[in-house]
């Protein structure tokens, strides 16, 4: 009797694991098969080199570059915002903050990650953009800058939390060695602790990049929906994710070539995040210093 019960539980647990794997495989299958039929009409060369993306217009072009630059631009702004602040917070928490303060500040920071992204999107559109327009007069009402900045704020806790974990995992003896040599806290933090924890810090940044590339709501709301090939942060841009939202919500007929573009865009996005996740996994395995 007990054996049968155990077996049912084991089966149920294995089944739960199987569901996620099957879902992932299913998603990959849909992405690959739909984009395969897309690439039978549009050549891969055109897709990668054409500088215009106008699948919904009469004059149709299928160049992914404008969407890539849009994604790259917002992601770069987000990382440039989040990286220094995130690492500074991590260093403060692990090297300076009193223990009790650290215990309460860390979860408080992680609340930032719990804010729904749609809220961030409206925050960017209705607060940050008007504020920035006071400083930069020719800033569009949709622009890459404020979407990127707000996305950066969103991913700060990701960098600060994972980097702090990496710093916190360093043995106490390493810091003592530095203090014992007459180093200040600042020198100990930036010449010993941060370099020693660099693999963990780099992993946190790569994961944050992957998160920024895949982020949708903020850019769809605040960055605009104009696939223009530009690297000017004051302009409206369209990211891959924002394009997918635009088409998914629009009245593009199922099965049409325009409909299939979202799968081609989707697989491009998937390849990027997949590669980044694997790089971070690889760095973690290869470069993490072993302390016993």
């Amino acid at each position: 009797m007990k054996n049968t019960g155990e077996k049912i539980i084991e089966g149920a647990l294995a089944f739960s694991g199987l569901i996620t794997i099957l879902t992932t495989l299913g998603i990959i299958w849909v992405l690959v098969s739909e984009s395969f039929s897309f690439f039978q009409v549009v050549s891969v060369t055109d897709f990668l080199t054409d500088t215009e993306w106008t699948p919904l217009f009469t004059q149709k072009h299928y160049g992914i570059l404008p969407l890539l630059t849009g994604t790259f631009l917002t992601t770069a702004i987000a990382i440039l915002t989040a990286m220094p602040i995130g690492i500074a917070i991590a260093v403060y928490l692990s090297e300076y903050a009193p223990k009790n303060f650290r215990k309460s500040l860390k979860p408080a920071l992680e609340v930032l990650a719990a804010v729904p992204t749609v809220v961030y999107g409206f925050f960017a559109l209705t607060v940050v953009t008007p504020f920035l327009q006071n400083i930069i007069p020719d800033l569009g009402s949709f622009n890459a800058l404020s979407a990127g900045l707000v996305m950066g704020i969103m991913i700060i806790p990701m960098i600060s939390s994972l980097s702090e974990d990496a710093l916190h995992a360093l043995p106490k003896s390493l810091r003592e060695a530095s203090y014992g040599m007459g180093a200040t806290r600042f020198q100990t933090a930036f010449k010993v602790a941060v370099p020693a924890a660099s693999s963990g810090i780099i992993v946190s940044i790569i994961l944050a990049v992957a998160r920024a590339i895949g982020e949708t709501m903020i850019v769809a709301i605040a960055a605009g929906q104009q696939p223009i090939l530009t690297l000017d942060p004051r302009d409206a841009v369209e990211t891959i994710t924002a394009y997918i939202v635009q088409v998914s919500l629009g009245d593009v007929p199922h099965g049409s070539l325009a409909y299939k573009t979202i799968f081609a865009a989707g697989i491009t996005l998937f390849i990027f995040t997949f590669v980044l996740n694997n790089i971070s996994f690889w760095i973690k395995k290869k470069y993490q210093e072993k302390y016993d």
Partner: protein, 250 residues
């Protein structure tokens, strides 16, 4: 000449009274060993000498400690400068995950010394003093973590020596090492005595007998006996000391 002088030092971790009225003096260019069972306060006292206890929130100290005539707990003393004068070697080898060269040059670099020739000279000199130069001179730019435990500990000694301290504190420096590495460290201590004042905490009584000129026996936060090493080991004045060195407890 008095090199280190402690007057009525008391120390507390929160409510815990861990050092009770310790007074002792150490002469320059001597080796002093601190012995005693675990938790007797010997390491805490050692760490008072370069103020490594400063970072422990609950730690509190009374009494004065003078090194080379200076009150090291005086408000005007910069703790960073003190630690450049009073170097420390820890129980477990703790090289930085950097190259051997970078490890040894660290103390000078954080003092703002950038000149390559100065750094190279200091690294070579310190590694020679630590009896490691011949083993690593061709691999200075390899990670210090690739060395054996005994070599890592000598890198740590070289690192401490590079800033030319007057005093070297060693907290059980050989307890994590094999007998051959231990012998090397002990030989080294005998050589370093010529230029440095050394204080060593050890659990190993033979080691204390071999390397030190004077020995202090700590028990439950008290300094029970402090005498010439030979005298303390052959003719202890206190019963507790005798019981400890003959292995009857501890």
């Amino acid at each position: 000449m008095k090199h280190i002088e402690a007057n009525n030092v008391n120390a507390y971790y929160g409510e815990n009274h861990v050092l009770k009225d310790i007074s002792l003096t150490m002469k320059a260019n001597t080796v002093t060993a601190f012995i005693g069972p675990s938790g007797c306060g010997k390491s805490t006292f050692l760490r008072c000498l370069n103020r490594m206890n400063d970072y422990i929130d609950s730690f509190r100290k009374e009494g004065d400690i003078f090194i080379e005539g200076k009150d090291i707990y005086d408000k005007k003393v910069r703790v960073e400068e003190l630690r450049q004068k009073v170097g420390m070697v820890f129980q477990k080898p703790n090289p930085f995950p950097k190259t051997i060269f970078e490890n040894v040059a660290y103390g000078l670099k954080i003092q703002g010394i950038k000149s390559k020739s100065v750094l190279e000279e200091a690294v070579e000199k310190s590694l020679k003093q630590a009896a490691l130069w011949n083993e690593v001179k061709d691999s200075l730019h390899k990670s210090a973590l690739s060395l054996s435990g005994g070599q890592q500990q000598r890198v740590c000694i070289a690192r401490a020596l590079a800033v030319e301290p007057s005093t070297l504190l060693m907290d059980e420096p050989a307890s994590a090492l094999d007998p051959i590495s231990t012998a090397k460290i002990e030989d080294l201590i005998a050589e370093l005595k010529e230029n440095y004042t050394i204080v060593i905490v050890t659990h190993n009584m033979q080691q204390a007998a071999r390397v030190s000129d004077k020995t202090a026996f700590f028990y439950m936060g008290n300094l029970i006996e402090y005498d010439k090493t030979k005298e303390l080991f052959t003719n202890p004045k206190h019963e507790r000391t005798e019981n400890y060195i003959t292995g009857r407890f501890g």
